[in-house]
Symmetry: C2
């Protein structure tokens, strides 16, 4: 594991510097980078593994020591980050780093149920995770919309439960080994008893309702029947098969968002509830989970589930993953359960990195836990739900924002400054490209434009962001169907516009300087001028492609904002107050421009508004 890690390190260093480096160890007496690990690696990586390392770089060379292989891997990643292009050559600053993670569980959930994500895309994302020292891939392997694992015992699971896109067992073993090589555990999630319609496509007898079941959208949600022994027999055999495929100690059974309708509608299930002295569906789910827990125990697995699994009847070994928040996590910890946070780390909500970065598993209700209770909070997981995500755009949804979450889970809680975080994110972002990650690719713009000259489209694309939270769901007319083309600008646009952030910073710097910061003013003027002129250049493209028609209002608004911003700048330049009537008129434009169009937000509205307001003279300094 260390040898392969060093091999990858050499390849990455070679890529990063453009210097061919031989894979052979250097002269043992005079090493440039000495690596020493006290222990080797475990066949199956443990949650409580020591991941610490110490890296010392001085004039005579570099020395990396660690108690185990994981620390070595992390230290090598740190070393790669330290390599800088200087005026004399590639350099690594003299430094002594003693490093270890704050949390033991630093994960990324990837949902492959809604959209299948190809194996090679997952691999390059594992490379990215290793670069930011994340150590768990939470593989959400099926959902109502698709079952993505080959089962040899129950082949109808993948045959009837998918559109033909699933991972073979060989591929799964390959991915697990690939992750293990990079110090990453793979925790599979198999949703039970709900979110599992795709199971019933092949095995309808497991369901609580009469069926028939299909993976096509629009069908009612479906839940397992927890009252029949046949269900547990199936689960036992299924988990036996999956437990061998996924060697990790932990096994996620989902358990979230149980839809009670099927249980309510089934008289035999209601009868079962009464006969066993249960009060409601929650009790029945707890009964189901207890049975599940026993089966998992038999197969040497520790059970994990979402908030909803929490029930006094469950043993304390269960790990709770919270999509609800720190309160839910704290409650679990108080009751003796271990847990991890995902609330605040949902990458599909299209939040800026700084917002995720500010979320701390130990904050809120968790802050007042006692040390023992706090020790039960294992860490957190970023979540990449894939309703609007395919292999083509997933990298841009995960990266670079995921790195902010990774840092939150690794670094001390006092490291909080967002500006400093964004500087690190910028440096990391282009380095991630060496790993094959395509988060900065604009190739889909060529498809939309149908031509090689996409410059004006790119200008607009770099200034918009997809609508936030679950707003985009509103665009689905009737049923939630995610099988359509994902080829609109909203599918390509980055969740966070770097250029818009830079523009906002320049506007703030300009205003804060009392309009004296000439460098900032020049940059603002250059950008505003380009935007003003962009609509005329972009218009022909928008007209000739059906994929671009919907962008016409955004393009117009960008030009209008450019014009308004330039006027405001001129007023400020001449130390004149802008006429109120003009500002009122601009206010209407601003309000209009704030409304999302084509599921996109124009991200430069607020700073232009600031310029306009500043031009009133109120904020003006002498």
């Amino acid at each position: 594991m260390i040898a392969r890690g060093v091999h990858r390190f050499m390849a990455e260093l070679s890529r990063q510097t453009g210097i061919p480096l031989t894979q052979r160890p250097a002269d043992g007496a005079n090493p440039t980078l000495l690596i020493h690990s006290v222990h080797g690696s475990e066949r199956v990586q443990k949650l409580d593994a020591d991941e610490s390392y110490e890296l010392v770089v001085n004039e005579s060379g570099a020395k990396l020591t660690a108690p185990g292989a994981l620390g070595i891997l992390h230290g090598l990643q740190t070393f790669l980050q330290l390599v800088e292009t200087s005026t004399d050559g590639f350099v690594v600053s003299a430094v002594t780093i003693k490093d270890q993670p704050r949390f033991a569980w630093r994960g990324l959930l990837v949902d492959v149920g809604r959209h299948f994500i190809p194996l090679d895309v997952l691999k390059r994302n594992l490379d990215g995770m290793a670069a930011v020292k994340m150590n768990v891939l939470h593989w959400h392997l099926y959902d109502n919309e698709g079952f993505r694992v080959e089962s040899k015992r129950f082949p109808k699971l993948q045959e009837a439960g998918s559109d033909g896109l699933y991972y073979t067992q060989d591929e799964i073993r390959e991915l697990v080994a690939y992750a293990h090589d990079r110090g990453i555990r793979v925790v599979p999630e198999f949703e039970m008893p709900g979110h599992s319609r795709s199971l019933f496509a092949g095995y309808p007898a497991l369901a609580s309702g009469p069926g028939p079941y299909k993976i096509e959208p629009g069908a009612a949600d479906a839940v397992m029947d927890p009252t029949r022994e046949q269900t547990y027999k199936f689960i036992d055999r299924f988990i036996a098969e999956m437990a061998r495929l996924f060697p990790d100690d932990y096994f996620h059974i989902g358990g979230d968002e149980l839809d009670g309708h099927q249980w309510d509608a089934n008289p035999k299930i209601q009868e079962f509830i009464h006969a066993h002295g249960m009060k409601n569906n929650q009790d029945l789910q707890a009964f189901f989970n207890q049975r599940l827990q026993t089966i998992l125990g038999k197969h040497h697995k520790i059970m994990m589930g979402w908030d909803e699994v929490l029930h006094p009847d469950l043993p304390k070994t269960v790990v709770v993953q919270s999509w609800r928040g720190q309160q839910s996590l704290a409650t679990a910890a108080q009751q003796g359960y271990r847990g991890l946070l995902s609330f605040g780390y949902y990458l599909d909500l299209m939040w800026p990195a700084a917002r995720h970065y500010a979320v701390d598993p130990m904050s809120g209700a968790a802050a007042s836990l006692n040390p023992e209770q706090q020790s039960r909070i294992l860490g957190g997981e970023a979540c990449m739900w894939s309703e609007w995500v395919t292999g083509e755009n997933i990298d841009s949804r995960i990266w670079p924002r995921n790195a902010a979450i990774a840092e939150r889970l690794w670094s001390p809680p006092a490291v909080l400054d967002p500006d400093s975080m964004y500087r690190r994110l910028g440096a990391l972002s282009w380095r991630l490209q060496w790993l094959g990650l395509t988060h900065r690719s604009f190739t889909s713009l060529y498809r939309m434009a149908g031509t090689d000259d996409i410059a004006p489209l790119r200008t607009l694309a770099e200034l918009v962001e997809p609508v936030k939270d679950y707003t985009r769901m509103n665009s689905l007319k009737t049923v939630w169907d995610f099988r359509g083309p994902l080829n609109r600008l909203v599918d390509t646009a980055c969740p966070e516009s770097d250029l818009a952030r830079r523009f906002r910073d320049s506007v703030q710097a300009y205003i804060a300087s009392g309009y004296q910061d000439q460098a900032a003013e020049k940059e603002i003027r250059t950008l505003l001028t380009a935007w003003r002129d962009n609509d005329a250049r972009l218009r022909p493209l928008l007209e000739q492609s059906f994929l671009l028609h919907e962008l016409a209002p955004l393009s117009e608004e960008l030009s209008t904002l450019g014009v308004a911003g330039l006027f405001a700048l001129d007023y400020l330049d001449r130390s004149q107050s802008s006429p109120e009537s003009w500002r009122v008129q601009q206010g209407t434009l601003i309000d209009q421009a704030k409304i999302p169009k084509a599921d996109l937000l124009l991200m430069v509205v607020a700073p232009v508004q600031q310029l306009i307001e500043a031009s009133a003279g109120r904020a003006q300094k002498p």
Copy 2:
């Protein structure tokens, strides 16, 4: 083969449109695209295979018919090229295409001896070749600098003859199968008797000189000893092993650029020459080639070699590949030999696509051959010699220029217009990105700059081209050593600057319009202004990175050209003649700017010079 081809076609169509497409065949009664092949595919693809196809697209659907699998593959590629983004949706125009190649041999040589090229890089280039209907990968598997094939019989070949980078036999079989799936033959080249120093590192007894031999640069060239039976015993056993690995009928033995020094210096070899009544080393090479030819025949292979193998003693089955030109090819054809052209198709010379495009295997001396002789000219091969090429930059050296050569070898000779070729090249270039080709990637600029903000560096990078022909060899101080870092701008800069070509076209359009073309003038002015201002923005980057220091004079010159061009434009705008003294002064700048720096050429010098000259008023129209 057809099934897998259709599978890839669906995946590519899906990628090209962003529409998820199922891999299942549609309703057989009502197909959208009907595919009919008279015959299936051959296990080993033949040179004389029928590659024709007919594609009919009308309102009721599309129909693709072909006599064989190769035609189907080509037709599917044509269909992909026909898919356009329109105002209403993705469309394919109604069309009837009857298509077949002009030449049966349309190849790309990739040299993996000087620099090892990873397997996945070769694969994506095979995808690119399939997209432009090329059908031969000529795999130049070793050279003095490295032996890149695993031999199980002679393991010291790869062990002593390489730096550890070579293809295993499994990998070779994988690549051959991958190519076969795409209608591409793989012809291996094993250089004999010269260019083969890496052979002797492990097996010095084969050489004509005393040795010792190593793959390190600077050592004298080395040649096999053709006078010893042991040599032929080795070759026989080696070819027996390689013949099984490479199923193609053809087997390339190199044979070029024989360095006679070792033979001259070896008294036993000279004695052999006299004893056998030979006149010189050429006769000895012919003797060697005859023996080689017999061995190849025993292993059912047809011998190929470079121009130098041509000798009256060789049988007419030998195929001659010409790096010397059409005259050499015509001479061979007159003597009854088949041949193919590579002269004029050397991608490492950094020529513009149009120059390669103008080279026709049937032109020059070949044009006056009779039809039977002409039929012996099989086609041609682009050559990617890898002295300055690694897996990182090879795509940008091959693409998109290789597509111009592919078109020359496929299309009728009358299709010649370079402007029209460049339009097709532009459309193809971004589509090639879907195949994973990285020819338009600028990631290495981040390495050079060591920062995320590379805009001004990119501005310069897009306007320079590497020096042409073998000029760069001059930068090698003493020995030809290609093992150094390839991380300068010359290693990244595209062989042909699209933007410089566009600028040149705009300047010509502006001048031709009598300075009335306002759109052209605006574009010229915008670019010149950006260049004028670029040096100030780029300067801090150039100073902070050792990889960029050498670009300072280029950056300054670009700004100077911007200033000069803007002055000239102002004179033209005002219909004034520029002062002669000013023009003389600019002439000095222009002469200076024409000199390569950092092995790079600034490609906008000539059009700015045109503007300056036009400003004299001589070329001015009323």
